[in-house]
Amino acid sequence: MPMLDTLRSASRRRFLTDTARAAGGCVLAGSALAYLARDARALPADAIRPPGALDEDAFLSACIRCGLCMRGCPYDTLKLAELGIDGAATGTPYFTARDVPCEMCEDIPCVAACPTGALDASLEDIDDAQMGVAVLVDQENCLNFLGLRCDVCYRVCPVIDEAITLKASHNSRSGHHATFAPTVHAEHCTGCGKCEHSCVLPEAAIKVLPVRLARAETADHYRRGWEEKDARGAPLVEGVIDLPDRLPGPGTDNLVAPGGFEPAFRLDGAGQ
């Protein structure tokens, strides 16, 4: 019996050390794997996910990296990220707007091809896609901002006059021309990237950015007084006296000093 006991305790000891070793190895390997898997979440700003893609976190739990969306894309827009070359998680689909933008197919074949729902099948109208948001990142070099009529980003926009409009203003440099500023309206922008692709500058002045980078978020408690007033159809606080505005210059409704006053100094470029 003592010998049997020794045997039993020896095998028990062996079992325990083996288990501890395996568990330790697992924790080590698992930590390395977790590091790699989390590292893969850092999507570069110029890598745009296909239309209908879930939020990046949800996307990485859903995309099996099969490449069927890429096969579905008739314009070879989509690429699969290659290990050690592209920044996106290896094997996941993305496109670079400056190279090949999304053509916004009406039947959205990439979404139809996705077997897992990483590209959300509930996206039925491509105009509702939000792959990113175009941002005019460099007003100093944008030709339109310089006063020229380039207009290319505006003209190629598939949602022209909604996603991008031209906002006219006085060209204060020449003094007698207009500046037509390309202006993006994020709620209509699909992030297809045609504007970035077509920008005539060697480096695009307008770029599609991920929503998280492109958009600010107003605080929940913030209310726009004029909108609330319109919604209510009346002033929000009763009995507030609307005082007359004090404006400079003669001929205004400056009731405090009828006839107005002359500013004490002149601003350069003002009132030419």
């Binding site: 083996d18 395996a22 568990a23 190895g25 697992c26 924790v27 390997a29 698992g30 794997l33 977790a34 790699l36 898997a37 989390r38 590292d39 893969a40 979440r41 976190d57 949800a58 990485l60 739990s61 859903a62 995309c63 099996i64 990296r65 099969c66 490449g67 069927l68 890429m70 096969r71 690429k79 699969l80 290659e82 290990l83 050690g84 070359i85 592209d86 998680a89 290896t90 094997g91 091809a113 996705c114 077997p115 897992t116 729902g117 990483a118 099948a121």
Partner: protein, 286 residues
């Protein structure tokens, strides 16, 4: 090769059965591996679209969806409920390998298999020591770790490193630095651990092993009485711990290879001069 105590494994079978018969399943297996690769490559290479996608998920002839069930399982653990297409695809693959032996995937389909087989061949040629031999069960631990990490990080964790799908995707869509990963596995199997990757570590193989526990297609040793103890089957078998219970079992025990580790590669059938082994259907009858 004077140090060898006997002729190379399979030499006897070559003499008695002829070269072709002694390499039958090896050749079939290579053909199968090429066939499955060709299904995916004929489209991008020649415009002949048969199967689109990769081993992780595919669509054949625009009708048959297939999904790697291990990838789908990680996706589920990570918190995503896949669309029906992917679930059906995973179900079909699970059913197929439950019948054919889960690890048939390893021997007949997986693109890493030729790499590790090549490493093993060179390893034998160079007469290298077998090196680090972690327990065969290590892969099950890794399988568990991959699922746990998927759950904790909310990603399909193993796909961040999985050389199987990476090599397959690399061949079809573009390689990047996947070749370095494949080279790493080759070197690992060659000098660090004999049969190290597929035989001890790969959680994909471990998963398919579990799938095939009740497999119908199995290797059996019905003529085990004729065994002349040449040990050739043990030499060529990538999971040679599975042979003994079937081949050396006491009279009355099943001659079936019952271990889910068996990859159904059939190499033991090839190299046996006494024709002890054969493939059988039915998990209970010999």
């Amino acid at each position: 090769m004077s140090a060898r105590t006997h002729s190379p494994a399979g030499a006897e079978a070559r003499e008695t059965k002829g070269w072709l018969s002694a390499h039958r399943y090896l050749l079939l297996r290579r053909a199968s591996q090429l066939f499955f690769l060709a299904l995916f490559l004929s489209g991008p290479w020649f415009g002949l679209w048969i199967t689109q996608g990769t081993l992780a998920g595919s669509l054949t002839l625009n009708i048959l969806p297939l999904t790697d069930p291990f990838v789908a399982a990680q996706s589920l653990v990570a918190g995503h409920w896949p669309e029906l297409t992917a679930l059906i695809g995973a179900g079909i693959v699970l059913a197929a390998y439950a019948l054919l032996g889960g690890r048939s995937y390893c021997a007949w389909v997986c693109p890493i298999n030729p790499v590790t087989d090549g490493a093993f061949w060179l390893h034998k040629r160079l007469g290298l020591p077998k090196g680090w031999q972690p327990r065969r069960g290590t892969r099950l631990w890794l399988l568990g770790a991959a699922l746990v990490v998927s759950g904790l990080t909310g990603t399909i964790a193993w796909e961040a490193v999985n050389p199987v799908t990476m090599l397959h995707r690399g061949l079809i869509f573009g390689m990047g630095f996947v070749w370095a990963l494949v080279l790493l596995i080759f070197v690992f199997d060659l000098v660090v651990a004999r049969r190290g990757w597929c035989g001890h570590l790969c959680p994909v193989g471990a998963f398919y092993g579990l799938v095939g526990t009740k497999s119908v297609l199995r290797v059996s040793a019905p003529a085990r009485a004729a065994c002349d103890d040449c040990m050739d089957c043990y030499h060529v078998c990538p999971e040679n711990q599975v042979i003994s219970p079937a081949l050396k079992g006491k009279p009355g025990t099943s001659p079936l290879v019952l271990s889910p580790d068996c990859t159904n590669c059939g190499r033991c059938i090839d190299v046996c001069a006494m024709d002890v082994f054969k493939f059988t259907l039915g998990s209970t009858t010999p």
